[in-house]
Amino acid sequence: MKIGGHKVPVTAYIGALIVLLALIAILFAPWVAPYPQTKIVGGVWDPPNAHDLLGTDSIGRDMLSRLIFGGRTSVTIALVATTLTMIIGIGLGFLAVATNKIVDNILSRIIDVMLAMPILIFALMVFAVLGTSIPIMIITISTLESTRVFRLARAVAMNITVLDYVQVARLRGEGVGWVIFREILPNALPPLIAEFGLRFCFTFLFIASLSFLGLGIQPPAADWGSMVHDNAQAISFGGYAPLFPAGAIALVTIGVNLIVDWLLSIHALPSGTGAEV
């Protein structure tokens, strides 16, 4: 099958299948999950058995059901944070190009400093002052990560803004808003969609890491990262409990990455560009 004149590789299908299955499971969680997420169904860290396909967690709840419900939190928060990241990053990037040199220079220099440090270190600083809650986490991550999107958005817009039709629009006397939304944005969409996928992977893993460190999503809400955190002790007793939520995180990320790799190959960008601090 071809989409937009490009042959779709098998890996992209596998990725799409993983993402689709994960989405169905978490969207229809109450019908898919075998037990309610808070119901205690067995002993502490029961190994996988016929009743509890993936065993039980640290207080005897069904691991599979917890995973399906926890996925809702993980995926939703990562999606919200990624969307916000893209809006801020693209907005600032386009603004830098569409306005004048001074705005561009100020924005670029500030962001250069932000790029000189890993996001994790900055995020930990913010959490030390503000504490941890879901809104604070989403806003912090989006702000920090938008600096990474800014660069791409600015570069893409730079290439478009020198084209004749943008110059014509400016000479026609259109404002900054028109130039950004009617001229640049529609033509910059393809690479930005691939970037959205990459950013989602990064954000998803980043939030999982924060939750794992006990600094992300706090109880009673549960996501996959905090499930790894809560079940980590099982390893010392020879159990496998934390491997299931950790594996779920890995699986969804692989799925999205496989799709992104295909999207990137259309635009001839090297694969693995997502590995970034």
Binding site: D112, A116, L120, I121, V129, G131, F212, I235, L243, A246
Partner: protein, 319 residues
């Protein structure tokens, strides 16, 4: 002399970046709503209690003055006092810094030769088995969270095979080889996290040179592919490879935070995470500064080494 000027400029830029980041680390927290006093006392604190604590912590002094005071202290090895324990931060940080450097160094000693060697092999046999396996491996390692890799290694090597301890317990006066034994699993995790990316980039850098005209000439005069890669392509690909290695070592700096927590290893990363959950801002700032120095230092070093390896890079990279 050109090269000396480049090194001086690049080092100065590194110091400048570091100062900017330290400003952001220290003053950035001032822009946020709430301060250390309200963080310590919680939401139910009375205004009087807050005022007393602010005065005690010196929070009434203008922020820029406090920053200069802090920077002056840092330059003299005084990182301030921990809010929770009341002891100097430097005395808690230094042994942990040594531990973190030991772990990162251990990982780097394995990862760098492995990645560069395999990357060159993959470039020699482009499209071969190693090449394809490394593509899949790099997808896996950018998708797997560090703790997933850690737990798989623990289950296999500690729980099942019983070869290595699952917790990296170290103490003062521990023998060198005992220490190596205790930190092998966390070091292996870090190796797995960075090796694939480093390998891919080494391969890409080598292959990028392979399309140059002089490489074609080397082929045409009848050299074998490995002779061309090792003798002609590699020396010119060395600059980018060094840059990639340093970049990934800088990545170790971040990876180390999660890995230290998984293995309960007493390093700077764990100290920082602890301090964040206790909202001990001075300790968090000190740890942040340590990570900033390591990260920016490695990036600066990468640029300088890359320029030394390839004179053509001079001027082009030195913005």
């Amino acid at each position: 002399m050109e090269i000396l000027r480049f090194i001086a400029t690049r080092a100065a830029l590194g110091v400048l970046t570091l100062i900017a980041v330290s400003l952001l680390l220290y003053l950035g927290t001032q822009l946020l709503p709430g301060d250390v006093a309200s963080a310590l006392l919680g939401q139910s604190a009375t205004p009087e209690a807050l005022a007393v604590l602010r005065a005690k912590l010196g929070l009434n002094v203008p922020a820029w003055l406090r920053y200069l005071h802090w920077l002056w202290g840092v330059l003299h090895g005084n990182l301030g006092t921990s809010l929770t324990s009341g002891t100097p931060i430097a005395s808690a940080l230094m042994p942990r810094l040594a531990n973190t450097l030991f772990l990162a160094g251990y990982a780097a000693i394995i990862a760098v030769p492995l990645a560069v060697g395999l990357g060159i092999l993959a470039a020699i046999r482009e499209g071969g088995i190693l090449d394809r396996v490394s593509t899949m491996l790099s997808l896996a390692t950018i998708s797997f969270p560090e703790f997933f890799v850690s737990y798989i290694l623990i289950v296999v090597f500690a729980s099942q095979l019983g070869w290595l301890p699952s917790l990296a317990t170290v103490y003062d006066g521990m023998g060198f080889w005992d220490r190596v034994d205790a930190t092998t699993l966390p070091a292996l995790t870090l190796v797995l996290v960075v090796v694939a990316h480093m390998l891919r980039m080494t391969r890409t850098s080598t292959l990028a040179v392979m399309s140059a005209p002089y490489v074609e000439t080397a082929f045409l005069k009848g050299l074998s592919r490995s002779q061309v890669v090792l003798g002609h392509a590699l020396p010119n690909a060395l600059g980018p490879i060094i840059a990639v290695v340093a970049l990934n070592l800088a990545y170790l700096v971040v990876g180390v935070v999660v890995v230290e927590v998984v293995f309960v290893y007493p390093g700077v990363g764990q100290l920082m995470v602890d301090a964040v959950s206790k909202r001990d801002l001075p300790t968090v700032q000190a740890c942040g500064l340590v990570f900033a120095i390591a990260f920016i230092g490695l990036n600066t070093l990468a640029d300088i080494l890359a320029a030394l390896a390839n004179p053509r890079l001079r001027g082009r990279r030195g913005r």
